[in-house]
Amino acid sequence: MKHIISALVENKPGVLAHVAGMFAARAFNIDSLVVGRTEDPELSRMTIVVIGDDRVLEQVRKQLAKIVPVVKVQDFVGQPVVARDLMLVTISAPPAKRAELLSLIEMFKGKVVDIGLKFIMVEISGPEAKIDAFISMCRPYGIKSVARTGTIAMSRQA
């Protein structure tokens, strides 16, 4: 099972290595890990998607909280949450297929951000499942490369 955990961490060197090292050392399974700045220049937010049962989730939470520069740990169990991924994807798009593809992109509320003779690059964001669905819809056209951010999340009350 996938769980989203969000950690506010001090913006100091070594914190990412510490968190990543702890996950490896304790054999926790990371699906994705995203780090970015917050409104406070002293703090960054890490959003981590881990795979495991409730017991694993509890250990991950506790072990994260133990890391000194980790200021706050939150999981979203039992809360309404907004979770989003961002993806850039380059799809092969010969002129004959373009119209078809563009309407697909439209349906998924994607945005064409680059275009060439034989390809288009699309920016798309949304819940992970939507991104996955978009990828499978595009697969028949030929996907050249994908870059995904991994999930970021926030609870609705926040």
Partner: protein
Amino acid sequence: MKSKSKSSAASAENSSIKTGAQIIVDTLIEQGVDTMFGYLGGVLLPLFDRLYDAPINFIIPRHEQGGCHMADAYARATGKTGVVIATSGPGACNLVTGLATAMMDSVPMVALTGQVRTELIGNDAFQEADTTGITRPVTKHNCIVKDVKDLGRTIREAFYIASTGRQGPVLIDLPVDVEVSKCKTDGSKKMSLPGYRLRAEGNARQISAAAKMINKSNKPVLYVGGGVISANASKELRAFAEKAHLPVTMTLLGLGSYDQNKPESLDMLGMHGSAYANYAVQECDLLIAVGARFDDRVTGKVKTFAANAKIIHIDVDPASISKNVSVDIPVVGDAKVILAQLAKEVEHKERKEWFKKIADWKKNFPLRYDKNSTIIKPQYVIEELYHQTKGQAIIATGVGQHQMWAAQFYKYSKARQFLTSGGLGTMGFGLPAAIGAQIAKPNETVIDIDGDSSFNMTMTELSTAVEHKLPIKVCILNNGYMGMVRQWQELFYNKRYSKSYLSNPDYATVAKALGAVGMTVDKKADVPKTIKAMLSEKRPCVVDFKIEREENVWPMVPAGKSIDEMDGLDILESMA
């Protein structure tokens, strides 16, 4: 000068321009450090120059690992934070085993390491190592200081983190340019640790629920780990156990927290624990774990561990709770505070039947060895040590069979009396640990009960003991084997003693060459008088006891078995 003209008289008094090296020394002294261990190197010279006339007793080991174990044992023996210094690159790398040892056993330590100049970091400079990267998994916290302005605060934070909550080693990496750069200090003692919060009290409702559960229990067992000793809560533990009337079993690291001479003591539990402790745990209806972490050497097969019992777990580290075993009542906080509160809320209960059963187990399954043997039995040496020191010595150990016998056959009555590497199981810990403890406690008898193989690993530190005229005693239980390894090969690999035999030097000669006293005993009859002579020595003294070569540690719970499935009970029985 600038500050004088600018600020008020009061702050001018506190503020001055200092070098990083001076700030380090001043902050160490401010933190109460009067003893430290460590080794020099190029990038530490500015700091050592400041240490030249500092009021700090400085001990140079022969190897940084030794210095790290000394600082560790100094901390274990006193409860104060141990301090060790090592230079960049190889010096820092040599600390790794010692830091990991302290980390696993939650020992408060601060390690300072030299580092190459800030601008060279990342360039594979001479004696550069990624010290914070290498030591991150073996420290509670570490960091590098790149700006002299952060130095005092960071050292202060290191001592605070090392000595609070679940204690552990903290490392600070110090580039040499930071040691020499100057900054204005203002005497401020501020810390900035937004991510470090402590929970001391323990939830009052949980404590009351625990007390109720204890009052209801007919067959409780108190299971005590090293956390009680770290928390200086031995007194509170005893008062609580007495008030509620509970039998007490201890982990290897918990030994000393409760007086083993009391009838309520079940001694050590687990893989080489006493049969009566393991039986009691398996049959109890309530297990009260305090400062213990359900380590696999204690639980054996987790699924069947105390399977019929409710579990109360008191621990300062929330991550220890429900990690290996799920718990009915968790109480997070300082054992000292929580045990005192619990003692107020529990009632005395007779529990006659339970104690009768325990007394029977103790009578029927005592720890035993063959007293009629003509060869020196290791257990006999330890019993003799126990009698001649009236049970009052501080005992350090290496790792192996001798360590288990030292846990089984010396009866501890005081916290901080038994110093052993439990979590990591670090061979070579014994001798430097004895040195660190003797420096901390100059008037106590400190004995390293060691294995030949373990002693081989750090015996060079004997010359450190000689240099400082420390009256430590080293008792080598010399079986010519990596005995514990040999025992497993005997039991599980068909007696194929692959590479576990040793070609040892003559330890008495080695001791003498290094300036210590050396003795050898190969006759059982000579054991008492040699121990007597050893105990009256004022110089470091090494005694090489040629013991039964293939003695085994019993009982033994084979890996993966339940702790009441012990091997060797029949062998113990036959020695009656």
